[in-house]
Every structure is written in structure tokens, then in C-alpha cells.
């Protein structure tokens, strides 16, 4: 049941640890170069802060380097391909970001019962039950102003990190829904639910933070 271990003596160099199956430095470098920007963009979307995102990006690559050193899949020359490594990195980055956000308690929430501007609730409904008129009012303004990246990032930062990640993996990083579910270790159904919720909440939060002018009196 036990395997005899190769040993590493004092002061052994990294080269001495390299086995045949170890991913080459060139391949690792290519991965760093190819994926650092998408990864940091994803993390920036999740944590809402560029500097933290850079930290987490480096941490994720650090994890990957360790995995390379250990010869863990998919960070070997033989096992795993670029896409598997990409999924691995996004998974690692996702968990790191979620953990950091939780531990630092910097997740802020809008009251979800009322994601819409109060003045729009003319018919007494709120949330998902808001009137169609106010929804479309919001929609028009939303479409005009959604190009404002900063405001959108601010709204994104108020999503639950899991919802934000689902949306970012799918919409920004271009993973298939199944890949995104695998990265987040959730079921396909949960993934679809999170993406739907993320899009709708993002819009709602954006509108709550950036109330369209004349929202109450808008027209379809």
C-alpha cells in the first residue's frame, strides 16, 4: 500500500525535481501570458477591485506553479491540455475570490425585496413583481447607460459572488454553460439559475443605483 518516495536532499535544485512528465517552463509561461488578462478581468469583476484582482491572479498562478512542481494534473506535460488548465485556473481563482470576499466581509447587499427604485412601484408591486411599465422604463434607460463601465462594475460588485462568477464565466470568459458549472462545481440547473438571477439582479441593481431620469413617468 505504500510507495517508496524519491528524496530531495538539502539544497536540491528545482531542476533536480523535474521529472519527465513535468510541464515545461515554456509551456507554463505560455499559459501565464495567455490567461493572466482574462483571469484578472474575471477576478476584477468578482472582487470589484483591480489590485485585489491582481493579487488573486498571482495567487492562482502560484497555485498552478505548485501543481506543476507536484506534477498534478492538468499541469503536466502529458496530462491535461490548455483548456483543462484554463478551467483549473478559473476554478482556483473562483474559490480564492469567494473565500476572500467571505472572510473580509466585504459583500454588500441591496435589499433584495426592493431591487427597483421606490418611485417606480406605482402599482404597489416590487421586486420581480414590479409593473411591466416600470420594467420597460428601466430597460430603455438601462440600454442607454449600460455602457458606463464603472457603474456597471459597481453594480456587479453588489451581486453575490457566486452569481457574479457564473455570469462572468459565461458571458465574459466565454465558457460553455457546462464548463462554467464544472468550474464552479455546481449542477447545470444551478448554473442556469445563477446566470438568470445574475443578469436580472445586475440590471435591477444598476437601475437602483443609477435611477433613470423621469423613471416614474416614462413610457414604453
Amino acid at each position: 500500500m505504500r510507495e517508496r518516495m524519491p528524496e530531495r536532499g538539502a539544497g536540491a535544485s528545482a531542476e533536480a525535481e523535474e521529472g519527465e512528465a513535468m510541464l515545461s517552463l515554456a509551456a507554463f509561461t505560455a499559459t501565464v501570458e495567455r490567461l493572466q488578462r482574462p483571469l484578472s478581468a474575471f477576478l476584477r469583476g468578482m472582487v470589484g477591485d483591480g489590485e485585489q484582482a491582481l493579487d488573486l491572479t498571482q495567487d492562482a498562478f502560484h497555485d498552478a506553479w505548485r501543481a506543476t512542481q507536484r506534477g498534478d494534473a492538468p499541469w503536466t506535460a502529458a496530462g491535461g491540455d490548455d483548456e483543462a488548465r484554463r478551467r483549473w485556473l478559473f476554478h482556483t481563482a473562483y474559490w480564492r475570490a469567494v473565500s476572500q470576499l467571505r472572510r473580509r466581509k466585504i459583500i454588500h447587499w441591496l435589499p433584495l425585496e426592493r431591487p427597483w427604485p421606490a418611485q417606480g412601484a406605482r402599482d404597489g408591486q416590487s421586486g420581480d413583481g414590479a409593473s411591466e411599465a416600470e420594467r420597460v422604463d428601466g430597460a430603455a434607460a438601462f440600454e442607454e447607460r449600460v455602457v458606463e463601465g464603472e457603474a456597471l462594475r459597481a453594480a456587479l460588485a453588489k451581486l453575490a459572488p457566486e452569481d457574479a462568477a457564473a455570469l462572468l464565466l459565461r458571458a465574459v470568459e466565454g465558457f460553455s454553460a457546462a464548463e462554467a458549472a464544472a468550474i464552479m462545481r455546481i449542477s447545470p440547473a444551478a448554473m442556469a439559475q445563477r446566470i438568470s438571477r445574475a443578469r436580472r439582479r445586475l440590471r435591477a441593481i444598476y437601475l437602483a443605483q443609477n435611477p433613470p431620469e423621469g423613471a416614474a413617468g416614462g413610457k414604453e
Binding site: M1, R2, E3, M5, P6, E7, R8, G9, A10, S13, A14, F28, T29, V32, Q36, S40, A41, F42, G50, L54, D55, Q58, H62, Q69, R70, A73, A84, R87, W88, S99, Q100, R102, R103, R104, K105, W109, V146, V147, G149, L152, R153, L156, A160, D163, L168, A171, A177, A178, A182, R185, I186, S187, P188, A190, A192, Q193, R197, R200, L202, R203
Partner: protein, 634 residues
Amino acid sequence: MREDLCRLYEPGLAALEELEELALDTEEVAAAQAHLTGCSRCQARRRMWTRLDGALRDALAPTAATPTLTTADLLMAIGADHEPSERRAPMLSVITVRDEDFMDGDETRVTTEVGTGEAANETNGANGASQTKAGAPERHFAPLPSLATARRQPGWRRALMGGAAVAAVVALMAGITGVMSLTGRLSGTRSASHAKATAAAATQTAQVGPFVSQPPRVAGMAFDSSTDGWVVMEEMSGNSSNSWLYHYANGKYTQTATPASWGLYDAQLWSFAPDNLWVFAGAGGSVYHYDGHGWTQQTFPAPRDAESPSTPSVMTMVSPTQGWAVGNTFVGPVGAQTLIQVFYHYDGSTWRIDPADSQASKGAPSGSPTPTPQGDQAIYSGNDQIQLTAISATPGGDVWATGYLQIQDENGNISSTTGYLYHRANGVWRVAQVMRNTELDGILMTGANSGWITGRTITSKKVITTVPITTTRVTPIVLSWDGARWSQAAIPQPDQTQSGMTFTQIAADSPSNVWIIGSSNGMTVNTGPYAGDNTYLIHFDGARWSHVSLPQVAAINPSHDISITNQVAFNNLAAAPSGDLWLAGGLSVNGGGSGNYQWYPLLYRYSGGQWVNVQLPALPASGGAPASGSQPAG
């Protein structure tokens, strides 16, 4: 009527492509498609979702100002042996560290000089403290009592080192005694020690991923006596090769060759003799045995229908021929997998799966989402999974394990925390107790009728103001086993500087000599000799718990510069059968006008009511300067 339909289909429309791709809700999707064909409003809505995705891509597109990380920088930053592609001119950068958790929302501005390794060598040489090889990465400490050495680190991430280092120290002060990554708790165990015939067990699980800028530290230790033991030194700025195992005998350290796959974030050690050492690398769940000549990595059988073998998340060795471990894995067909706890017993030659009843086997509560299989890496402990935190056993085979389950609401907030206490009775593992609003994070059985659990109770209260605010009160608790039941023990209250304290370890060499250490969120600013105000250390003498004074560490601030702060924190305990307690931690010195940050790992032995400073080993020359861990007692 049509508006009703629009409303009905709206959630589905917001993820229509995904539902189609995943072949979910096919009937509803077909109906929604049919509705979409004839509804211009919903068509517009669907186009809006597409544009939203595009706007998101634009909003998150990297800008020209986004720094580029090169592999050379990355490897340099993590201490791997790789030359940077180019040398960079020294520069000054300002880093803002935000850490609400530790510093009550304060922001710390840290100015860090960034330069080349060459410059660092020159600086070190100038004050006569250099033992750094040319071109070698600088370590994050300097021999005492130099304060003048500017921290100079090459590379992109090195620019963040000063700030990150402060965060690391603050994290240490906060009791994040595992690897002080800013990534939170994932799985595994904390450092702990166990010496021959003693029961010293790990407590809280805070093992997390690597933290790039962590200075050298004691990552694990075990002592057989006041003169013999083992110490793992680790430098997290390095790659996996930057941890070293030393045998300590009569004041001298001998480095011991370690397995090639040895990669520790934190280690638990059980030393039964100089040629009989067990090591549990909490990060990856790897278990190694050293027989004086070489290492064997232990293997753990996979349960039937398992996706992959389980690796332990907690383990303990009671004797050289008896050990216990728990891990988890997914079993069942793809698409309908369930997470199970797997209990293991070591009988002196082999790790075998130990029987558990259905409740104890359950790794996730009913109703948890079905996990998606992903064969290319280990699955972290995460939401809706019971996280095992510690395990302890008596030589008589009375075995207990602790864990807890956090349930999150749909928004990702933790809505409940439940402590789980497992017990092996009549050869079968069972859930012995379930405690609401409780996290259990450490256990140490000191006998059939004595044992201790550390943890905390968490009570939340919702306060409605303009926006709902949830206030959470966390109370550390210690539970005591009397042979029949667990009950809450009376412990000395943490003082003000220890508010928010969490326990980090339990150690004992007998039922009447038990130690518990904890650390707090508080932050100490001090310039005089002091004793780690943020550390909470208590001792049980067989009758009651009482505070233990910590060793007085002399502050390093010869010029009484008010911009210099000293911080001391201890986080690692080991009890030797001789009755000695070993305590490891470190002193950090911050400030001094140029954003300096220096770190001195510390080791003390408590013997006969006295703290004795023990020199730590000089780390190998591969990275440069030696670890000058000695600190004169003040």
C-alpha cells in the same frame, strides 16, 4: 394576458441560451421560444441581455494600465530559482492595504521600495549583515538588530510585498495561523504536534492556499523531550521546495532530506523516535512516514464507486501502529454523485476504510446541489459540505472528530453554522452530537474520561435600518469531556486586546497539563518589551484553566522611533512528554521611515514556569540569508 406570459418567461429568457445548451427544462424552453417569436417586447428584452453581456466584456476589458505579469516575475516573486528576464530600475510605489476584517476598515498605506536583488545585497552588505548570495532572492527578514535594511524586491508582485507582508502579519495577529493567505478557509488542518505517548492535536482548520509574501516561519513541530524534536521551517514566498525539515537534538539542528513531492503549507508532525516520524501535509492531504532512512507516502483506498481516492483532511497518529484519518470524496454515477466522508484506520501496515453509519458518511446535507464531476483536480471543501476540522484518539481506541457545516442562503451569505461531533463507538463511526450555531474546530482527547474541544458559537441578529444589517456575535467556547458527556468549560476571558479571539491549537502531555492557544483580531502597537498581547494562552492543571504569561520579547527599536511598531504573535504549540511546552511564532518590525518590514521567527520552550528562547535553524543557502530566529528575552 400576454404580459403575464412575458413575466412568466422572464427568468428563463435571461438564461435561454444556457437552458438550451444544457438541455434543461426543454418543454418550458420550447414554450418560451414560441412566445418569443410573437412577442416584440420579449425579443427586445432578450437583445438587452445580449448587450448586457457585451457591456460587461467592455467594462472588464484590461486597460493599458493593467500590469503585466511575466513568468519571470511570478517565479521570482514566489522564490523559484529563475532569473528575471530583465532587471528593473528601482522605483517607489505606494500600496494601499484594505483589510476590513483585521483592521476595522482602516486603510494602511505602505510605501515600499522596489528594486533589484543586487541592490538588496548592496544594502545588506553596507550594514554588515549580508549573507546573501549575489543574485539570490532576498529573504524577508534580516539578522538582528538591523533596522536599516530597505526591503527591495524585484518583480511585479514584489511591488506589493510590503503591503502584503503587513497583511500577513496582521493575519497572523488575527489568528490565521495556517497559511496566511487572504483566501480564507478551504480545508485541511492546522499545524500541530504530537510527541511520543502524548496527545497533542491540531485545532482549527484554516489551511488555505499559499500566500506569496509569507516570511519564514515554523510550519510544524513535534518534540519528544526538552532536547529532541522536529521542526518544519517554511517560507511561503518560495515554491514547494521552500520548506525544510530539521531534526533538533541538544540544541543543534540537522536538516533531513524530504520527499520530492514534499510541499507543505502547514504540517502536522508525530514523532515517536528519531527514526519514526509521521508528517501530514495539510495542504494536499499527503501523509508521509520517515523511518530514519527514507520516506514512504501513504496511500488511502478509494471507496466503492468513488470518482477518485480520498485524501485525508484530518488525521492523527496515536502510536507508530495506530492512526486515524477522515477525508471525503464523491461517489456514484456521473450526474448523481454524492459527497461522502471516508473514515480511515491505520493498523500498523495499511490504511483501511473504517465503517461508518449512513449519517456519519454523509458529507453534505440532503438537498445539496449535485456536484459536477471534474476529474482534473481535488475538490475543495466548500458550500454545503461538512468540513472536518480535527480528529483525536486515545490509545484505547476512543476516537472523536470535529467538523462543521455552513449553509448559505441564495445570496451566498452564511445563514447557519452547525457543529458536528463524530465518535467511533463499537467499531462504527457515528454522529455523536450536532450543535446549532456552533463551529467546532479542534479536539484533543487526553484520556478515556478527559478531552477538550475548541470552537465558537455564532449568533446573528438582524437590525433593520435603511438597509438590513446583520450583526454577528462570535463567542469562543471550550467543551470538556468527562467520560459521559461534553459540557462547556469555564475559561479565562480574553482581555480587550484579544477581542475576536479564535482558538488555534490544543496541546497536552497528560490530562492535567493541557494548553490552548488563540489569537485575536486586535492589533498591537508597541515599542517596549512586551509579550504578544494578541495571543491568548491558557493552561489546564487538572482542576482549572488559567492564563499563562507569554514570553517577553524585546522590541527592536533602539532609536525609539515612533514610526516603528513591533508586533508579536504566537500560533504553534507542541507538548513534549517531559512536560515542556514549545511555542512558535514571530516578531515583526514595521516602519522606520521607508516602509521597512522585517520578520523574526521565534521559538520558545516553557519549562518549570520559565520561557527559554530557542534558536531556530539557519535555513539553507539556496535563498540567501540564514534564518536568524533568535530573540533575546527581554
